[in-house]
Amino acid sequence: MNPRIAITGIGMVTALGFGAETNWAAMVAGRSGIRRITRFDTTGMRASIAGCVDLPGDEPGRPLSASARIEKLGTAAIGEAIAQAGLAPPPFDGPLCIGMPPVEVEWPQRGSFGATTYPGLIAAAAGQEGFYEEFLFGGAATRMAERFGTKGVPQIVTTACASGASAIQLALEAIRRGETRMAIAAGSEASLQPETMIRFGLLQALSTRNDDPEGASRPFTLSRDGFVMADGAGALILEDEAHARARGATILGYVLGAGEAADTFHRTRSAPDGSAIIRCMQRALDDAGLSPSEIGYVNAHGTSTPENDKMEALAVRALFGDAPPPPVGSTKSMIGHTLSAAGAIEAAICLLALRHQMLPPTINQADVDPDLGVDTIPVARPHAFRAALSNSFGFGGQNVAVIIGAA
């Protein structure tokens, strides 16, 4: 029998602000955090808007690197979660499981040596240990792990837009295996830098509604035209329920289960019958021992791309069979798509919704796509429910669903 996995702390940073309750208040009010990018020049880019979390140290034209930003955002979210769980100061008696994007040496660094070829650059940059430690894939997470004094190897996971949910799953499994009594499950995302914006733009994945930033992320509408990139981080403290009770911690809710399924169809599209995403949601239900009727809210992947929202609505309806599906919302309408952090942030939003017995809205619903056949929650509303399903579907076909339960 698996131990129940309690959530005893959460933390969140999004374009709506720092802190879980700050974010919750903004979301219930239906505010958008999407705005014009000022951190770098967007001339010529398809998209010039994003869910920006600008930090001290970010100067126009000289922003912090993605890696430095990931570390700062992740540190803020994890610190908040640990404090709420009553587990500060370090060390933390468990591993850090964290979803993160890849990082690399960026153009400001590449260009800073005046070299005109790679051999010249490699020679000129030799021994720049600060850059080496900044841009190692293990760098940012290791510094967070050492700051919080977590145990063992930080499990740094990337499954694209499902990374944050994969981190929850890794933490859940480590506790169930008895390797640890508690773990940090987090996601941190700061890929919002020029080259990544350009690359996503070339895939035609981004919304180009640049003259209406707050209206650009409009999941499930007829006029949805792509996702809006966003910075952000989310963190949850997961704990064996008995351990949480024994130390007198407040149990905020539970991770009831998780499921995943790889799609073998295409790098950026789901199988046309939605089979992989249905399988992933079903596996999460099976893992939680719940039937579909026990799910009261779906926090959708809901990216606002034409393809995702159609497939996801179809898959959710299929999962619920003849019964009408529960309300299906996308908080990405307000915070944008935080990519590697989305799964962790949105699981934390599900927890907040359960605690407040209130559904956060999907904003910008002036022209809901009637073919989708789901209640998209245009305005926040009270709702009595005990369990929420959070979907995260990644480029590369890596799909994860997590089920959060009320305390």
């Binding site: 890849p102 690399e104 940059a125 080496y132 894939f137 499990q155 350009i198 073998t264 990644g394």
Partner: protein, 355 residues
């Protein structure tokens, strides 16, 4: 009750060639395959010509660069070696990955132009191929394995240089042992002939320069090119186990305590019998390698980096694959594999012959 875990398939392709037989022969002692000219003063073990097109449909080949192709190819070798083609729908997957190739030509055009910010963005907008992004994303190696080989169980990609490969193996093994997975494909790929990779590690001052020397005689890494994957199954139901993965453990922390962590990992490893072979996956990075060799006491029988070059993410899985090959060839009944990340992380594995 934990289940014993068997390695049931090995897919390895390196500068030395592909397959178990080629790599078994290396255990008799082999000269490294080197290119000391192309990236001088940095020697590399280059990628040989491999028949990617026989294993990967043309349409899919176009979506990848060589790093993903090599990984997909090696994963296919492991699936075939295990005879598990029919079970890929339920096969779990854990990949340890760095990033894929950049467009070096475009990078050098931009470096040469020394443009301002707006012009640099224009050059990127005009020059980048849309498909290259997908070839670069680390998780798309796993994605491409799923698409090409129809691997449709769980899929996770771990980041973090050497220790990500060891942690991937540890988690895969723990999932089989705890009966949350029945069949898991684990591994990764690395390609040495990449200027952007040399740039990052040159920044760290951890690359060997000048003519190749064996690992104990140098103070730095020499990169290799290899894909290394294994399939793991419960030993109780495995039809043809190659080796038993008796023990895998990892740790990480601040560098000051690295010798103590290595000593603790070795102390917690099940007892080594006389004749236990030792394979070190040490990178060659000076401090980490020194600590690993000190913890071992006696020199290892092999440095995998001398045979294949240092492989960063798949370095530890490749060392374990060599260990399993040594057992399959009857060269050892027990093999200890050690690894120390060039910057962070320590790992040990103990393999034994199947009963």
């Amino acid at each position: 009750m934990l289940r014993p875990v068997a390695i049931t398939g090995i897919g390895i392709a390196s500068s030395q060639g592909q397959g178990r037989a080629v790599h078994a022969a290396l255990l008799d002692g082999a000269a490294p395959v080197l290119d000391e000219v192309r990236f001088a003063p940095y020697p590399v073990h280059p990628l040989p010509a491999l028949p990617f097109e026989e294993a990967i449909p043309r349409r899919e080949m176009r979506q990848m660069e060589n790093w993903q192709r090599l990984g997909v190819y090696a994963a296919g070798l492991a699936i075939d070696d295990a005879g598990q083609r029919e079970n890929v729908a339920a096969m779990d997957l854990i990949v340890a990955a760095g990033g894929g190739e950049r467009d070096w030509k475009l990078d050098e055009q931009i470096l040469a132009a020394q443009p301002d910010e707006a012009r640099r963005h224009r050059m990127l907008l005009d020059g980048l191929r849309p498909t290259l992004f997908l070839a670069q994303l680390p998780n798309l190696l796993a994605g491409s394995i799923s698409i090409v080989h129809n691997v449709a169980g769980s899929s996770r990609t771990f980041l973090g240089e050497e220790i990500s490969g060891a942690e991937a193996l540890r988690v895969a093994c723990a999932r089989i042992a705890s009966a949350t997975s029945e069949l898991c494909l684990i591994g990764g790929a690395f390609i040495s002939e990449r200027p952007e990779v040399l740039l990052l590690f040159s920044m760290g001052g951890v690359l060997h320069q000048g003519p190749w020397l064996p690992l104990p005689a140098r103070r730095g890494m020499v990169f290799g090119s290899a894909g290394a994957f294994m399939t793991l199954e419960p030993a109780t139901t495995a039809k043809a186990p190659i080796a038993i993965l008796r023990h895998v453990a990892t740790d990480q922390g601040r560098t000051e305590a690295r010798p103590a962590r290595l000593a603790a990992l070795l102390a917690a490893t099940p007892e080594r019998q006389p004749g236990c072979m030792v394979i070190s996956t040490a990178s060659g990075a000076e401090a980490a390698t020194r600590d690993e060799l000190a913890a071992l006491g006696a020199p290892p029988d092999f440095f995998s980096a001398d045979l294949l070059g240092h492989l960063v993410e798949p370095a530890f899985p490749a060392g374990v694959a060599l260990a399993a090959i040594a057992i399959a060839e009857g060269r050892a009944k027990q093999v200890l594999v050690t690894g120390t990340g060039q910057w962070r992380g320590e790992a040990v594995a103990l393999l034994e012959a199947p009963a």
